[in-house]
């Protein structure tokens, strides 16, 4: 568990973890993730805050995710990735759309995350797909899963179809990919500042109250009860 001074306000850079579940290199999913990341970084910069970005390419974790599904414990790379998520002040999660939902691999990563890891954590959602006809996948598939995690999902989400990457991206078009990404960045930055305790108004658990509700090294034994209490004496 981090010491309180490392988690409370102060001047530490905020931790932004980006989960990108694209399967090719480069992938449009990663391109969207990068765009959302840049927008969030810019928005935080306007508040005078630095951000440390960790990008988790799910592809690189794929084998360990399947292994952990069977063994119930993560391998070294996956453990490091899950620890990053456990320290995040904000998460950007982007998946390709398969059959009107997140990809199986994207879901599999979140299936090996310990309960409580994402409670209260600001999350921005994005998805990519061939055409805009898939765009409701975010609200019908991703958002419910993150609601279950009790994550703090920002209102704006971004679905990027292939055509978005070739479309006009001037600021004049309020629905352009760039302007939607900018809105996500602004919202996520605000949520992160609140969650990290930089601005007021956070609801516990937050990053600022020592990480309660968040996974930490000590949490494995968080439910420890002394024997006297167990025996009811």
């Amino acid at each position: 568990m981090n010491a309180p001074d490392a988690t409370a306000t102060g001047d530490r850079p905020l931790n932004l973890v980006v989960v990108a579940a694209g399967t090719s290199v480069p992938s449009s999913t990663r391109m969207l993730a990068d765009q959302l990341t840049a927008a969030t970084r810019d928005a935080l910069a306007r508040h005078g805050r630095h951000v440390t970005v960790t990008v988790l390419e799910v592809r690189e974790l794929a084998h360990e995710i399947v292994d952990a599904t069977f063994t119930r414990f993560p391998g070294d790379k996956l453990k490091a990735a899950l620890d990053e998520i456990g320290r995040a002040d904000g998460v950007i999660a982007v998946t390709p759309t398969y059959n009107q939902s997140y990809s199986g691999l994207f879901k599999a990563l979140f299936d090996v995350i310990e309960p409580g890891t994402l409670t209260g954590v600001p999350v921005a959602l994005g998805a990519t797909g061939g055409t805009a006809r898939h765009s409701l996948a975010i609200d019908y598939a991703l958002r419910p899963m993150f609601a279950y995690f009790k994550a703090d999902v920002v209102p704006t989400t971004v679905f990027a179809a292939s055509e978005d990457f070739g479309a006009v991206t001037t600021a004049a078009d309020e629905n352009s990919l760039a302007s939607r990404a900018g809105r996500v960045g602004t919202e996520l930055a605000d949520y992160m500042l609140r969650f990290a305790g930089v601005t007021a108004g956070a609801v516990a658990p937050t990053r600022a109250d020592g990480g309660s509700g968040r996974r930490s090294e000590d949490d494995e034994f968080a439910d420890f009860v002394p024997m006297g209490d167990l025996l009811g004496r």
Binding site: T71, E220, F221, P226, M227, L230
Partner: protein
């Protein structure tokens, strides 16, 4: 240090030949493994308790009683005994019987079972798993340590002036280990009673095992049973050995790749790096198991799962032979030499009787007398006042010793 094997008595198809043993063959094989384990000089044979297919070990004391008749030295143990769903009165009786008939060659490992549905099969509520483990063991402990027990708890009918029979051999109860993989409460329970803690780490990284054992050791000291490094620790493990390490890998790989528990997941190499599984030459297995103490401290018992993944009977017998003749003699010599003098050896009945006698003498209590104590509890029809009084005196003396121990321990000082 004690070394042995444990079996969960699963029926698993041999992935190479497709052969599937019958229940009868599997049971016969287990008995043969136990006898062989004794012949090659292993110290412990332990069996699981499961009440669902594909397992064939629903009645451990039946099997162990039979094994006891065919062996003379090896310690018979469990891996594990379901403290949650068995009536503690029946556990007290069954294992005291086995203890007498085997000449004190019995200990047990308490566990909570491999599957949730086992609770309703025995009339219990799965939501009460941990409270059942706590309350049932408290009763079992009293039934073995006190001749006459008055009891009232949440999960079974009260007992009044009840005596569990037979009384433990030489007045010393079978040693108890508490097995747990993830529950800190079970480590706490083991520490509270000064019992052993068995971490069956066969599917877990040593970093996790280390955390659990450290918790147990810290709490063992807290409750005044000795220093943390004197706590009694057991570990699981699994290996496959051939003289030539590449032969071991080639022969074992199809069994690993198709095993019900880890098959189709991590590679043999990854799983070997992350868990105690070691596949190679006897020397490689010795080297690997020499390192465990660096993580958990000097420990008392090392058990190996050896008849898993559908390995054929002949192969398992060969593995037991290699274990007993090539691996354990070296591990035993090296690890015993490394263990400091103040760290106890593994518990045996004889040593525990001697320790009890020494404790009684030191406390100026009368020496233990195993003359039949007529007049114990109400379930005895020949009640006599003298017998009852003797039982009560012993119970009070035991209470006094416990109070004195706790008063001197961190646990006692903290509450003042």
């Amino acid at each position: 240090m004690q070394f042995g094997i444990f079996t969960i008595a699963d029926i698993t198809p041999d992935p190479v030949t497709g052969a599937i043993p019958t229940e009868h063959e599997r049971l016969e094989a287990m008995v043969e493994y136990a006898v062989q384990a004794e012949q090659v000089g292993l110290d412990v044979f332990a069996i699981g308790e499961h009440h669902n297919p594909p397992f064939v070990t629903s009645s451990p004391t039946t099997t162990l009683g039979y094994v006891a008749g065919k062996t003379s030295e090896i310690i018979l143990s469990t891996a594990t005994t379901l403290i949650t769903t068995n009536d503690p009165v029946k556990i007290a009786e069954d294992y005291a019987m086995l203890q007498h008939l085997s000449g004190g060659r019995v200990d047990l490992t308490m566990g909570r079972g491999n599957t949730g549905p086992v609770y309703p099969w025995f009339g219990q509520d799965i939501r009460q798993g941990l409270p059942l483990a706590i309350e049932n063991y408290e009763l079992l402990h009293r039934l073995w340590h006190e001749d006459v027990v008055d009891w009232e708890g949440k999960f079974r009918t009260p007992l009044q002036q009840f005596t569990s029979t037979p009384r433990p051999l030489d007045g010393v109860a079978p040693f108890v280990w508490h097995g747990s993989i993830r529950s800190p409460q079970i480590a706490e329970q083991a520490a509270f009673y000064g019992d052993g803690f068995f971490h069956n780490n066969i599917f877990w990284p040593i970093s996790h095992t280390k955390q659990m054992v450290e918790l147990y050791r810290r709490r063992y000291e807290h409750y005044g049973h000795g220093s943390a490094d004197q706590a009694i620790v057991g570990l699981g493990g699994q290996f496959f050995a051939r003289a030539n390490s590449q032969d071991a890998v080639n022969e074992f790989r199809p069994y690993f790749d198709n095993a019900p528990v880890y098959g189709h997941g991590p590679s043999l190499e990854d799983f070997s790096a992350q868990t105690p599984l070691t596949v190679g030459s006897p020397q490689q297995i010795i080297d690997r198991y020499m390192t465990m103490r660096e993580h958990v401290g000097d420990y008392q018992r090392q058990l190996f799962l050896i008849d898993h993944a559908g390995l054929p009977r002949k192969t398992v017998l060969e593995q037991i032979e290699i274990l007993g003749t090539e691996i354990v003699p070296v591990l035993r010599r090296e690890l015993d030499a490394l263990r400091p003098a103040h760290v106890p050896d593994a518990p045996t009945h004889a040593a525990r009787v001697a320790a009890r006698d020494a404790a009684l003498a030191a406390a100026d209590e009368p020496a233990y007398d195993d003359a039949y104590r007529f007049g114990t509890g109400d379930n005895w029809t020949g009640l006599t006042a003298e017998g009852g009084q003797r039982a009560q005196e012993q119970s009070l003396a035991r209470d006094r010793r416990n109070q004195a121990r706790l008063a001197d321990s961190p646990a006692g000082k903290e509450s003042k």
